[in-house]
């Protein structure tokens, strides 16, 4: 999927994507379309989504699809409306409105609300035991779920003592 989308040229991509999103709205889609356009592969078909994808893919949430978090889960119709709206936004921005694309993506307030509701709805059971509701949102504490999990660091980073390269020399030099 990822490969296929990548090979399309820009204009065709625009048409295809508009088609896809419109299709969702107009025909309420097949479950297959719905699923495909929820997936990490689909979202990351845009260059700008890469970081989000890579960090997500290395996280504990990697088995989910993006829209498990990024689209409303409670009702099917709410979801498709949100998806179409958000999707049109992304497609527009990525093509015609490209000069307005921000350098750094941040979830919009609306997105944040949706995401947070999704955290809660999945984790309802483990939240029942405790008033886990002391901050504005879940990621105030779980700030690296599922993105931003330090993917820019090499594996050996996690054995930090090995990485402190000032140390070996220190031992040699001083003793």
């Amino acid at each position: 999927m990822r490969e296929k989308v990548k090979r399309l040229d820009k204009k065709r991509l625009l048409l295809v994507l508009i088609g896809v999103f419109l299709g969702i709205v107009v025909f309420a889609g097949t479950s297959a379309t719905m699923k495909a356009t929820d997936s990490g592969e689909f979202c990351s078909s845009c260059h700008i989504m890469n970081t989000a994808y890579e960090t997500f893919a290395a996280s504990n949430h990697a088995t989910l699809s993006c829209n498990d978090c990024h689209a409303p889960r409670d009702s099917f119709s709410e979801k498709i409306v949100f998806k179409a709206k958000a999707g049109m936004g992304h497609v527009y921005m990525n093509t015609l409105g490209s000069e307005k694309i921000p350098d750094v993506l941040h979830a919009t307030a609306e997105s944040q609300e949706v995401i947070n509701q999704n955290c809660i709805s999945c984790h309802e059971p483990s939240l029942q035991n405790v008033a886990h509701d002391v901050k504005d949102s879940c990621i105030d504490c779980h700030r690296q779920v599922p993105h931003m999990n330090g993917d820019f660091r090499p594996a050996e980073w996690f054995e930090s003592n090995e990485f402190f390269f000032a140390e070996p020399g220190k031992k040699q030099g001083k003793e």
Binding site: Q112, E113, N116, C119, I120, H123, E124, S126, L127, Q128, N129, V130, A131, H132, D133, V134, K135, D136, S137, C138, D140, C141, H142, R143, Q144, V145, M148, N149, G150, R153, W157, F158, E159, S160, N161, F164
Partner: protein, 465 residues
């Protein structure tokens, strides 16, 4: 957004609005009680902080004050009242006042109710406050025990549930007026504090610098007039000292003869301008923890987060390993300790230099000048030293305090040197005597007698004689 997840339905415990007995909450919140009982097990060996392995010169710099006699590492909240009652600062001080209780017992709000805010803080600790307490809380001293047989005298009225919670709704609340007064002075609207703010404000009731205001019936007061940095609190304290009848300091040094401000646990203040100011005390010190199987509660064992790095730190720092976080904290703390010991050492010498100024009879004005420098130098190491995180709560804020401390204490020494040499004193000999005296303090094995070694023929008590 506001995360409405499980458990935020309003509670009614059925308890009285003014319930002060911790034991009353035991059956209502068995999991929290279990967690609270963990405060009965010590995390560390409790020794005096003037031990040579910790801060060897405390008996010098605090000489003339109870802190020089006994000042221990902390234990859990359940022991707060017991430890206060048994500390020599109280037992050897017949004039101790009830204001001390304002941060130790859930009964303090009742004391205010009973005696009125004008009287409640200045009762005699032994003759007035304790008898009332025994009558109210039971002369059996509570004797709270945990599973393992640890016992806390008066544990049932030590820092506990009603200090931080409304006993009926269990909502977080501020129960001690010292904090609301201080916040008023700063213009902080605590009525509308967020839940996030409350998770630190409950701690700010106690983990803050304080003094008993002589202009206000000895009420427990925080020097928060100009802001919360150590520098701001210094200026505000100096302003208080400049007022007629205003608070001059906790004691007068027997060695250098000037009034000294004693710093006490400014955790909240130091944290408030550090890198974790957006993170609440409870986030680190009261992480969610699993109790039986699945059930999670807010931990009520207030202690070192370094023992619960996974829950306390890695919820936020999930990209870092435990080892990395440990190494960073150690690195910050060891840099801090080095500067701290240096600053205390210089400050101790400064006290002796001024002592010598006094005994050699140099000009009054110069003595006063030197005393002012000692006072300033001491404040700026005592604040970060009294703060209990060894700098972690605000690494560079704490370190900046040491730069000022060292500068001022050395200025005192310099001034003294000039005055003493001018009248022909032998500075080499003075230095030698200081070294000998410091060593005597270190060598005295009985912690609460060390302070006696700090004074001798060379360096007599210049306050009481």
């Amino acid at each position: 957004a506001g995360t409405e997840a499980g458990g935020s339905e309003s509670i009614d415990t059925g308890l009285a609005e003014d319930e002060w007995n911790n034991l009353a909450f035991k059956d209502k919140f068995p999991l929290h009680w279990e967690s609270y009982m963990k405060n009965m097990v010590n995390e560390k060996e409790i020794i005096q902080k003037n031990d040579p392995s910790i801060e060897p010169y405390l008996p010098i710099v605090w000489n003339g004050f109870g802190f020089a006699v006994e000042y221990n590492l902390t234990r859990g909240h359940t022991y707060a009242f017991e430890d206060q009652m048994n500390v020599r600062r109280i037992t050897s001080n017949p004039n101790a006042v009830s204001a001390c209780m304002s941060c130790k017992t859930t009964l303090f709000p009742q004391m205010i109710e009973e005696f009125g805010p004008e009287q409640a803080y200045k009762l005699n600790y032994h003759d007035e406050a304790l008898p009332w307490l025994e009558e109210t809380a039971g002369a059996d001293k509570g004797m709270m025990t945990d599973h393992e047989g640890n016992v806390a005298e008066w544990g049932h009225v030590s820092v506990g549930c009603s200090t931080c919670h409304d006993p009926v709704t269990m909502e977080l609340r501020i129960s001690l007026p010292q904090l609301t007064d201080a916040l008023d002075r700063l213009g902080f609207d605590y009525e509308n504090a967020t839940q996030h703010d409350m998770r630190s404000l409950v701690c700010a009731q106690c983990h803050v610098e304080y003094y008993f205001d002589p202009l206000n019936n000895l009420q427990t007061t925080f020097p928060w007039g100009y802001g919360l940095t150590f520098e701001d609190m210094w200026e505000y304290s100096e302003y208080q000292a400049s007022r007629e009848g205003g608070f001059q300091g906790e004691y007068v040094s027997t060695i250098s003869g000037g009034a000294i401000l004693k710093a006490q646990h400014p955790e909240y203040e130091l944290w408030s301008y550090g890198p974790h100011q957006t993170v609440s005390c409870a986030d680190c010190h009261m992480p969610y923890q699993r109790t039986d199987g699945k059930k999670k509660v807010t931990s009520h064992r207030w202690g070192s987060p370094m023992l619960t790095i996974e829950e306390s730190c890695r919820t936020c720092h999930s990209d870092k390993s435990e080892t990395y976080l440990e190494t960073r904290v150690e690195d910050i703390q060891s840099r801090h300790k080095e500067a701290l010991l240096k600053a205390q050492d210089i400050s101790a010498s400064a006290h002796y230099y001024v002592n010598r100024m006094i005994t050699s009879g140099v000009d009054e004005e110069k003595i006063k000048e030197a005393q002012a420098l000692v006072r300033e130098g001491q404040w700026f190491w005592d604040m970060p030293a009294a703060e209990n995180s060894y700098g972690f709560h605000n690494p560079d804020g704490a370190m900046a305090s040491f730069t000022r401390s060292i500068e001022k204490s050395q200025q005192a020494i310099l001034l003294a040197t000039r005055e003493l040499m001018a009248i022909g004193e032998d500075i080499d000999e003075l230095e030698r005597q200081i070294e000998i005296t410091k060593q005597n303090v270190i060598d005295e094995p009985v912690h609460h007698e060390k302070h006696q070694q700090a004074i001798n023929e060379w360096f007599p008590n210049v306050r009481d004689n």
